[in-house]
């Protein structure tokens, strides 16, 4: 039997428990390893709480604000109505430089390095009538006609607004209604916009497109004058008009279904009274005899409608750098283009 009393061999008493000691050491190492694993677990929890995706949101916000700022610069330069394109070009480029300077200062506070650079721009023409009158041609050699060509060889139209100042002049039958047509050059596809009255004093806008053929209309929410039809933004009297946007999954915006380039014509211009303005991307409209070339102050200009050089679009190079995100892209800014 084993001698369990301490009266036994002195050496035995000393060597007893060695296995236990070694085992204790080994177990201690195991516990230390467990502590390291627990440390990893705590680190993982900390890692999981770090949010990551606000960097891309910042980039997209910045991009959007640059697009709006440059769009505003284009609009402001066009509104100055210069008779040559040069001053508009200079104004927009200096506006873009301002946007770059100010956004650099602002974003530097968020530790981001940004820059906005002008790459190129497209010259177009702004055709407008600022006196409230019928939408007739301004052909000065013959009498103004109600059916005339607004612009030819156009590939893009933006910022098209019609303001009706006298609803009583609108027609109620579709054959008499004032119509704006975009017809493909050398083709027959067309897109039509009719502005008439629905019979109870409210402005009614009808849009027809071909290929596939869809027709839709919407009415202004209130009667009375004036009523603004924003063709490219898709609103009538301030309310959204799906007939100018998407109907049954088909695009209905200005020129939908018409291949570029196209011509823009007006018919029954004597069945409407008001003002209008649109910007097209054709820069050579000075030769259109139905529109007078820009002369003098348009508010007192007796020959209306008139055509002024305008900037149609501008392309800028936007870059955004932080320690996490690097983003560089070209943005084409076209304020008021139907999407």
């Amino acid at each position: 039997m084993a001698d369990l009393t301490s009266r036994g061999d002195h050496v035995d008493g000393d060597t007893r428990g060695q296995v236990l000691l070694v085992a204790a050491f080994a177990l201690a190492i195991t516990f230390v390893a467990l502590a390291l694993v627990a440390n990893s677990a705590i680190y993982t929890e900390n890692l999981a709480t770090r949010a990551g995706s606000e960097d891309t949101t910042d980039v997209l916000t910045f991009r959007d604000s640059v697009e709006k700022a440059v769009g505003g610069s284009i609009r402001a330069a066009n509104e100055r109505e210069s008779s040559t394109f040069g001053p508009i070009d200079t104004a927009v480029q200096s506006g873009i430089q301002n946007v770059s300077d100010w956004t650099s200062k602002q974003e530097a506070r968020e530790s981001a390095l940004v820059s906005v650079e002008h790459v190129t721009n497209t010259q177009g023409t702004r055709i407008a009538q600022s006196n409230a009158s019928q939408f007739l041609s301004s052909n000065t050699s013959t009498a103004p006609r109600p059916n005339w060509t607004v612009a030819e060889d156009v590939s893009g139209t933006r910022a098209f607004e019609i303001t009706v100042t006298d609803t009583a002049t609108l027609a109620t039958t579709s054959s008499d209604e004032f119509t704006v047509t975009a017809t493909a050059m050398g083709g027959t596809e067309s897109w039509e916009l009719h502005v008439g009255e629905d019979g109870s004093g409210a402005v009614e806008v009808t849009v027809e497109r071909e290929n596939p053929a869809v027709s839709a209309s919407c009415t202004a929410p209130v009667t009375g004058d004036p009523v603004t039809v924003d063709v490219t933004a898709g609103t009538v009297g301030g309310a959204d008009c799906p007939a100018l946007d998407v109907v049954s999954g088909k695009e209905m915006h200005f020129g939908a279904g018409v291949s570029t380039p196209y011509d823009i014509t007006i018919t029954n211009g004597d069945h409407i009274e008001g003002r209008y303005s649109l910007v097209v991307d054709n820069a050579t409209l000075g030769s259109n005899p139905d529109v007078s070339a820009a002369v003098g102050d348009p508010l007192t200009n007796e020959t209306q409608p008139y055509a002024y050089p305008a900037m149609y679009s501008a392309t800028v190079d936007v870059s955004y750098y932080t320690d996490v995100v690097e983003y560089r892209s070209e943005i084409r800014v076209v304020p008021g283009e139907p999407s």
């Binding site: 001698d3 990551g52 995706s53």
Partner: protein, 149 residues
């Protein structure tokens, strides 16, 4: 009990030693298994966290590419842990109709899959954990992951 019996003492000692060894060995083995289990769990959780963050960054890069017209330069690089609970890991981006990210640790062999949804095309790529960079490849119009150098 004073006279020692030679065989009994040795036998007793060996018996005691054997029992002690079995007990302690059992304790150590179960302790070791326990630590291994915990380690595997921690690795799985950490790979899952790193994978989800990578997927979020990929979605962000996807948004940036989709918002640009033309071919932009998009680059997202973030510092991520180089090892999970003492083990290195690899990240693999598998581009197919149901794309996913697979993170695999070296020792022990633990694998975690994170699903992705995207609009921009993705490119097959594999990279070691650590500094992973998400790059938009302008020549192939794909988002890939690369080692940030």
């Amino acid at each position: 009990m004073t006279p020692k019996r030679g065989v009994s003492t040795t036998l007793a000692y060996v018996l005691m030693f054997a029992i002690a060894t079995i007990l302690v060995g059992g304790l150590l083995i179960s302790g070791g298994n326990f630590v291994e289990d915990q380690r595997e769990q921690v690795i799985r959780t950490e790979l899952g966290v790193v994978g989800q963050q990578l997927a979020a960054d990929l979605a962000g890069a996807d948004r940036l590419v989709a918002a640009s017209d033309g071919t932009p330069t998009v680059n997202i690089s973030r510092q991520r842990p180089a090892s999970v609970a003492g083990s290195g890991y690899r990240v693999k981006l598998v581009a197919q109709s149901d794309p996913y990210l697979r993170l695999t640790s070296s020792r022990p062999d633990v694998s975690v899959t994170v699903g992705l949804s995207n609009r921009t095309a993705l490119g097959n790529s594999t990279v070691w954990g650590g500094s992973v960079e998400i790059v938009y490849d302008r020549t192939t119009d794909r988002l890939v992951i690369e080692d940030a150098s």
